[in-house]
Symmetry: C2
Subunit: 391 residues, 2 copies
């Protein structure tokens, strides 16, 4: 899979080394040409240089550059242990491991498969935002779509998706485009307007992968007026919890008697993913709905809403946990609610100060979204000072 | 905390924009000088430019560069919403959230506190590798150490540690050095040889943060012959488990009937962290010890050992889970064993092919380390084909 590309990269790298006149490599056209013959007698030096450069790129979180260095090193010396390991490590940074859990998420997969099987006809021209492995594009093609265009911003993942589409024999009808969906132009990247949009670009907090903006852009520029949109809607629900352990994932006050609160300057200001099953917590409220999104309706704009959280138990609220129910059509939905076995975790926003709540006394929560993140405020609560206060 | 530094950064950035002659900013000394007065009438343009540049850096995972852009933007316009949010997001990438869980890990903290209280005397000159918040350095200083030198490679964290040391009134005796420990030179960075080394640079798989190399370097160059080393030793233990769910965090074969196995090219080749409490699994073996490290003994070199895993239950082995017991001295230890409440998760190496095991028939496991990672091989097993095979 990597042969030709690697060789080109290697030539490119050699060109760069030649241009910069790096001490260990003689500048000049002989190496810049990047031919295997010209390289042989210098390979060990070059491999060492590439590996050491790859290591520096890894430390600086420049993973694509690291990958290119290690790929070139492995090409020159397939037995080089550190180069192979380095390449694997760069790959893992570029293709994050959650892809596996997602691809193995049968509940998610089958929900999308059912929805696509119902929606796709032989007239369907499908636009898939976020190829990943190409799975949704493949499902649409197998369901009989005339043509599927699928876009993926990660170049490594896009190449992988194209390989997977080919392996499964659908490369005549599925085209993977390595570009952000909002950069695509009708008549240039897509020949005609598409009449079915499918996307699963949602994180545990629903909006974090930009689904609102990408659907809005597609509806304005790339889809027919009456295009089907999968998912058509989503509801976000939440529950208030007491859990010092969860709160302390994001805030700190004292450790061994020392004031280490300066660290809170670097606390995450928004929600972050937690796998609730791994932590002890007590639900203080019933679950309650906080926001609704209609992806096929009027344009979605930033909004706020105030909802009453139905408190069922006395306690100190340390965090709000939230999740989505994604409606693929009128009947089919998929959710990452607590206890669900989907690959998504839940989303949590922790509060630095605990908030005392009493059973039967609902409290007001302001839920807010700016189209790319959801955040919460508790309105007029009684705060408990600091996380080291007794709960 | 950020005032002066921010202003300097801003000058630096302006200098860079001036040098590159970016379209929206006139090149020249007026802006490159970076004085507030000279800037006022151009601020909105410049803020917009900085924010958009910060956004690009974030997308390219260049978090320090992103932070500098957003810091400068916030300095110029403290009310700029996207700049503030961008700065917070960059901070969260630069100071990962696990710092909070670690600082709140009472079990870890108290174990180190007890060990340091016992080891430190008024003669102690302490070398602390990996400052983090400065907590271990502070504990050593409070225990009466004459002087503490503490090094931290992350510049943002190092600054935070220095602030925390000052806040707690120990800046006369604790010095934070923003450098990798293996780069420090005696007589330059450290005035004299240190007689007590303390470090907690261990990840869930023990070796991943480089503890073997950094202790070895310190012993060779920076410590007295008889220096105390905390931790003095560690044991790694493991258990074999059956869990398709855990295996499928790192491997995939088929999804909805499609062959998506090309993704396995990007599977993590080594262990990775899992919070076991969040997953269903069955233990197939008793826990067994696999490796031992004596940090105060003979130099540690890469090694292999073959151990027998005592199988207690019929099943298909999908993964090996492992953890450490870190001995701080002869009596005090801390561990991330399954069920522990320390902040560390457990480490897991998943096997792409399940391996059939039978109760009472021990199997041979080869445990290997190269001083920076631990890996496992099962020797001569019966493999089950693929992860979609029935378990």
């Amino acid at each position: 899979m990597l042969g030709k590309q690697t060789f080109l990269l290697q030539g490119d790298l050699l060109g760069r080394f030649a241009k910069t006149g790096h001490g260990e490599i003689e500048p000049g056209s002989k190496y810049a040409a990047g031919t295997q013959t010209a390289l042989d007698h210098r390979s060990p030096d070059l491999v060492r240089l590439l590996v050491s450069q790859g290591r520096v790129h890894m430390e600086n979180m420049q993973y694509y550059d690291a990958m290119k260095c290690f790929e070139a090193a492995v090409y020159l010396d397939p037995d080089h242990e550190e180069a192979s390991v380095g390449l694997k490590r760069a790959h893992c940074k570029i293709v994050p491991r959650w892809h596996f859990a997602m691809l193995n998420d049968d509940e998610r997969n089958h929900a999308y498969e059912m929805a696509l099987n119902r929606a796709v006809t032989s007239e369907s021209i499908v636009f898939d935002i976020g190829s990943g492995s190409g799975l949704l594009a493949l499902i649409a093609a197998r369901a009989g779509a005339r043509q599927v265009f699928s876009c993926e911003i990660n170049p490594t993942v896009a190449e992988l998706a194209q390989d997977t589409v080919r392996l499964n024999g659908y490369d005549d009808r599925v085209k993977i485009i390595n570009e952000r969906s909002t950069k695509l132009r009708l008549g240039v990247d897509l020949p005609v307007k598409q009449n079915l949009l499918v996307t699963e670009t949602v994180d545990c907090g629903l909006l974090g992968e930009g689904i609102v903006g990408s659907i809005a852009h597609a509806r304005e520029h790339l889809l027919t007026e009456d295009a089907r949109i999968i998912p058509c809607a989503a509801t976000v629900s939440a529950v208030l919890v007491e859990s010092r352990r969860l709160q302390r994932l994001n805030f700190v006050e004292k450790s061994c008697g020392f004031d280490v609160s300066p660290f809170n300057h670097y606390a995450t200001p928004e929600y972050f993913p937690v796998r609730l099953g791994g932590f002890e917590y007590v639900e203080l409220s019933e679950p309650f709905d906080v926001l609704h999104f209609d992806f096929a309706g009027a344009p979605i704009t930033p909004s706020q809403s105030i909802v009453k959280a139905p408190i069922k138990r006395d306690g100190v609220c340390h965090a709000i946990i939230f999740w989505f129910t994604l409606y693929l059509d009128d009947d089919i939905s998929v959710s990452n609610q607590p206890g669900s076995t989907t690959h998504w975790t839940q989303a949590m926003e922790a509060f630095r100060k605990g908030i005392a709540v009493r059973a039967g006394e609902p409290i007001n929560i302001q839920a807010e979204h700016d189209c790319s993140t959801i955040s919460f405020k508790i309105i007029g609560p009684r705060e408990i000072t600091g996380i080291n206060a007794a709960s």
